[in-house]
């Protein structure tokens, strides 16, 4: 019996879809069977991020409405045969699915996969309610900005009200040089404010843009720092204890490396 995990954030544009794609790819590369469910109905995107947009025949709404069976709608990944995508419908809207239908769907998927990752739409309305309905755990993605952290706090409150276990936090797009300058909130600032468990910190990385352009998740690129962070989060999801490098906020900049080289502090 697999785990159903919803990836959510409240605010749009903080990296939910990128996170879903990368965690899915990383878990699959680590040998787990994974299905990615795009719950952002009407604004589907997980398919393009995964590079699977040309293979879609049926979608999530076709499945809940009974036009297609789950097995027919699942798209197998090009790289891993233990990774599948259930795409969102593009022509319907969020009201095309109910929380009960999502619950039933997730229940069916978890019979077959180790991990069911649900990519939630932005917002706190029905699309969000649908996305969390079938999930037993949640990951909240936030960037180190006031608007994103504020929305994350709201989402954490809503998940609590739904009696979900406390979600875990992914801090995305951390910029080491700005943290060092004192112009970006650091890990401990954000954890202090949100008071939830941290499961990973993903640095800002141009490789994400490039890999999204190509439809190849950065988690599969050995050289990508964001990809490495996603691989670590995947291992933590599997229950491994992987330390979150304190250096996550320190490494990377030219100055940082220069200073270390010179032995300055």
């Amino acid at each position: 019996m697999g785990e159903v995990i919803v990836i959510t954030s409240g605010k749009g544009g903080v990296g939910k879809t990128t996170t879903s794609a990368n965690l899915g790819a990383a878990l699959a590369a680590q040998g787990r069977s994974v299905v990615l469910v795009d719950a952002d109905i009407g604004l589907r995107n997980l398919d393009v991020v995964m590079g699977l947009e040309n293979r879609i025949v049926y979608d999530l709404v076709d499945v809940v409405e009974g036009y297609a069976r789950v097995r027919q709608a699942l798209i197998r990944d090009k790289r891993f045969e233990n990774l599948c995508l259930l795409p969102a419908a593009q022509t319907k809207d969020k009201t095309a699915v109910s929380p009960d239908q999502m619950r039933a769907l997730c229940h069916e998927l978890r019979e077959e996969f180790d991990f069911v990752l649900v990519d939630s739409p932005a917002g706190i309305e029905q699309g969000f309610r649908n996305a969390i309905a079938g999930a037993e755990q949640a990951l909240v993605v936030a960037t180190p900005e006031v608007s994103s952290v504020r929305d994350a706090d709201r989402i954490i409150g809503l998940l609590e009200a739904e009696r979900m276990p406390p979600p875990r936090l992914i801090i995305n797009r951390m910029r080491a040089s700005m943290v060092r300058r004192g112009d970006m909130m650091d890990i401990s600032d954000i954890i202090d404010i949100l008071a939830i468990e941290l499961i990973g910190v993903v640095p800002e990385d141009e490789a994400i843009v490039v890999s999204t352009n190509r439809g190849e998740p950065a988690a599969l690129l050995p050289s990508s720092r964001a990809g490495a962070a996603y691989r670590d989060i995947a291992r933590r999801l599997r229950g491994e204890s992987v330390p979150i490098a304190a250096s996550a906020a320190q490494e990377g900049s030219l100055f940082g490396r220069l200073r270390r080289l010179l032995g300055a502090r």
């Binding site: 900005e145 504020r150 409150g157 060092r180 004192g182 112009d183 200073r259």
Partner: protein, 94 residues
């Protein structure tokens, strides 16, 4: 440019905007959390009154409790009209 030189020399950078961000967030979240949890708010009011009732007779219908922002801090401001003092703590109203 000065900043660059400072950083090259490894000097402490001047305080950046993150402290402002953290402070603003802290205050706005107090307000957010208070406004989205009306049931919690009602419970707080009830508990407050339960304590005050032991010492004072107050006009419970006119009680007004709210969060107010006072510069850098949030304050819990309660306006509780007092009718009279009890003779001893815990006295019954009659």
């Amino acid at each position: 440019m000065m900043e660059l030189i400072n950083r090259l020399l490894g000097r402490q950078p001047s305080p950046g905007s993150k402290d402002v961000a953290r402070e603003r967030l802290r205050l706005v979240l107090v307000q957010d959390r208070a406004s989205i949890a009306p049931s919690l708010w009602g419970a707080l009011k009830e508990d407050l009154l339960a304590v005050i009732r032991r010492y004072l007779e107050v006009d419970e219908d006119a009680v007004d409790v709210q969060l107010e922002r006072e510069g850098e801090a949030m304050a819990l401001v309660a306006n509780i009209p007092v009718r009279r003092f009890r003779r001893a703590a815990g006295d019954n109203p009659e």
